[in-house]
């Protein structure tokens, strides 16, 4: 039944095709149900493959299904093929699973949107691209999926393209991703140059119980550490773009212009984790590229810290979550860099649950607040939206790292691995965990606790501070006309509950106890033995305690501080403006580039290109002016021409045969 893997890929493609051709006629809500069924079918197929795989011995769980040859060019044989192994199945299961609930949620969320069917066209195409990305058996096919999700992200961020900000954000996301894609492509070229193949099996060698063979040892595929470092660094550049890490993270906060289900599915749970998947996929090669591992760990922890600080100063409910996503992705990379691939993926899974949940709950709130996204104008929503409040609360505790919620287990495992690699990485990671708890509690307090500031006359008490950077006084109370906010329809609340269950119990799939670490065991045959995880048990407990204490402190601070009053002092301008990184990019890159482009437009385009084009046109035109005289409109002159031509031809033939 491994062949069911084809169905995982095919069903979303069929759903995409149906909605593309008949979407408008199916209209709402049928187009949405087609898309949801396609995603659900894909998930069922993934389950079938997974169960089949579990029935086999751990060493026999890898199967490479080759559908057909894509294009054989010279020495390059690119196949359309699926690699079914524990890693790709882990990815496929969670991608299709989370997709299904978010498809369902979108039916409610996109209600009455004029682009309802277009939304599901994109959504199915995205799911197809994403499963191609994780299931492809060679780098080229995976890259197809990689670009596919990038395109869908572009289309969905700019879904409401009538709004200028959305269109610009989509463009920014696309262009920033291209920078990373260059790295990915160069890595593929380099692989082909060295291995003569782009297949995972050929490039990564055969892994048997954590030991790579055929990489350094084998003769045809032998590479040295330098090449491994170069390839993995280039791939990491791609991952940095896709997974929004320093310095290419700038597109993700802007991508929040897209509809909220998109922020949940693409820009939190699945697409942005593609970079983590990629680095986990090349784990056998990373094993020989210590420099890359260090770069990954440092970039990861740096992004985690930086984005967490920025999240502390955001008012927009979705922007805060976006920075939080960058921060959590940083943790995943920290895990990968520390050589603890299984826990990096573990955090990816738990994060998919709680962050998708946070976004969907935020979407529910935004709906109830009549599209308002400023958290300072919310408050006290627990009473009005109990389902949203409880599910959001579970996700809040999960991301804050409070046991027994999912985030605690995965984050702690990564921090332990970081301790094994370097104490400084661990320290920054733990501090960031505290920040995470703080900003998430701030968000929870602002949205669900305190007073209902969306009512007339209710607003924040502003704690003034003479040294505070000038942030305006309390926000004017918005006029909230219309009915009281309330929970949404069942298509929106059911996904919340499903994801809340995941965020609650997600930790169970990989408990740090021998015999209970199912995910690590499942993935074990694929990854080299993690050298860094040699932390003694006593130290582990101490680290647990420290992390927990820091998280609880952050939690308490966030809750008490933001419940009733606003503190401009705590959100200085440099945090609101995200460390001025965007401004710096605008000044250093966009400014000179704009000037250079202006100069090029005048010199090269106006003079050279236009000159060439116009020159060709002029030559042809003047030739035509001369030639048109032959076309004088007198039939007899044409006849004379024909007669003359016949004579010439006859003369030629005669003399030729005569000679």
């Amino acid at each position: 039944m491994v062949n069911a893997a084809y169905a995982i890929v095919a069903l979303p493609l069929i759903g995409f095709a149906i909605n593309l051709v008949w979407g408008r006629r199916l209209a709402e809500p049928l187009a949405g149900w087609v898309g949801t069924l396609a995603a659900a079918g894909s998930f069922v197929a993934a389950l079938v493959v997974w169960v089949t795989m579990l029935g086999r011995a751990p060493a026999e769980r890898v199967s490479d299904l080759t559908a057909f040859s894509w294009f054989p060019v010279a020495g390059l044989h690119a196949n359309i093929g699926l690699l079914v192994d524990p890693l790709s199945m882990t990815m496929a299961l969670f991608v299709t699973g989370v997709s299904t609930v978010i498809h369902l949620y979108s039916i409610g969320y996109m209600h009455k949107d004029p682009g309802f069917d277009r939304f599901f066209v994109y959504l199915n195409l995205f799911l197809f691209s994403m499963v191609v990305l994780v299931l492809g058996d060679n780098f080229l096919f995976s890259f197809l999926g990689w670009e596919g999700v990038g395109f869908c992200s572009y289309g969905l961020v700019g879904f409401w393209f009538q709004r200028d900000v959305a269109a610009v954000a989509a463009k920014k996301a696309f262009v920033t991703n291209r920078v990373g894609d260059v790295g990915f492509m160069l890595a593929i070229f380099l692989m082909f140059a060295h291995f003569g193949s782009v297949n995972f099996s050929a490039v990564l060698g055969t892994l048997v119980h954590g030991h790579a063979t055929g990489l350094l040892a084998g003769t045809p595929g032998a590479i040295n550490g330098t090449t491994a470092t170069a390839i993995t660094l280039l791939l990491f550049l791609g991952a940095v773009g896709k997974s929004a890490q320093i310095p290419l993270y700038i597109w993700l906060p802007d991508a929040m212009e897209g509809p909220t289900p998109i922020s949940a599915l693409i820009h939190a749970a699945t697409m942005v984790t593609a970079g983590v998947y990629l680095m986990a996929r090349v784990a056998p090669m990373l094993h020989y590229a210590h420099a890359t591992s260090w770069v990954i760990a440092c970039v990861g922890v740096g992004s985690a810290f930086l984005a967490a600080t920025i999240a502390c100063g955001q008012d927009d409910i979705k922007k805060a979550l976006a920075y939080s996503t960058i921060s959590q992705l940083g943790y995943m990379f920290l895990g990968i860099g520390a050589g603890d691939y299984a826990d990096g993926l573990f955090h990816m899974l738990t994060h998919a649950f709680f962050k998708a949940l946070l976004f969907l709950a935020a979407g529910s709130v935004i709906h109830a607040m009549a599209n308002r996204q400023n958290m300072k104008q919310m408050g006290g929503l627990t009473r009005y939206m109990p389902v949203t409040a409880v599910t959001f609360g579970i996700a809040w505790l999960a991301i804050s790292g409070i046991p027994p919620f999912a985030g605690f287990w995965s984050k702690d495992a990564i921090l332990t691995a970081a301790w094994g690699m370097n104490k400084a990485l661990w320290a920054i990671g733990v501090f960031t965990a505290g920040l995470t708890a703080y900003y998430m509690s701030r968000q929870y307090a602002l949205v669900f606790r305190g007073q209902a500031r969306w009512r007339e006359g209710q607003q924040f008490v502003v704690v003034h501070d003479e040294h505070a950077e000038g942030v305006g006084p309390g926000l004017p109370a918005p006029a909230h006309s219309g009915e009281e906010p309330k929970d949404a329809t069942w298509t929106m609340t059911v996904p919340l509950i499903v994801l809340a269950v995941g965020a609650f119990f997600g930790g169970l799939i990989n408990l740090p106890l021998h015999g209970w670490d199912f995910l690590s065991e499942f993935l074990h045959p694929l990854f080299p033995a993690a050298a860094s995880v040699t932390v003694p048990t006593g130290t582990k407990w101490a680290l647990f305690a420290i992390t927990l204490a820091v998280c609880l402190t952050g939690l308490g601070l966030g809750l008490t501080t933001w419940r009733t009053a606003e503190h401009p002092r705590l959100e200085p301008n440099f945090l609101r403006r995200a460390w001025y990184f965007d401004d710096a990019v605008a000044a250093t890159v966009s400014g000179p580039l704009r000037m250079a482009a202006g100069a090029l437009a005048v010199v090269v385009d106006n003079e050279l290109v236009d000159g060439l084009v116009n020159g060709v046109a002029n030559v042809l035109g003047s030739t035509g002016q001369v030639a048109r005289r032959a076309q004088n409109g007198y039939l007899r002159s044409y006849a004379l021409g024909i007669a003359f031509g016949v004579i010439v031809l006859l003369a030629y033939l005669t003399f030729r045969t005569g000679a």
Partner: protein
Amino acid sequence: MSISGPWYLVLAAVLFGIGAAGLLARRNILVMYMCIELMLNAVNLTFVTFSRLLNDAGGDDAVFFVLVVAAAEVVVGLGIIVAIYRRRTGVTADDVSSLKG
């Protein structure tokens, strides 16, 4: 007394020459058409002559093709001439030159 083969060829050449000269000299499209027919039939005569001289039925075959093509050409051509005649008073070839360069 029978006329020898070459004389037929001479006749055909003369007919062809008359036709070609008429085509170049005359301006009435109808007359020009007749000249074209004359040239075509001169060619047919050559075909038949060679067919007899060389004892080869291929020449006769070619004549049938030429007849069919000539008939089709006349149909199209006369149609055009009638269309022109409806629009203007005469069918002088030189007057029909609105598509000149």
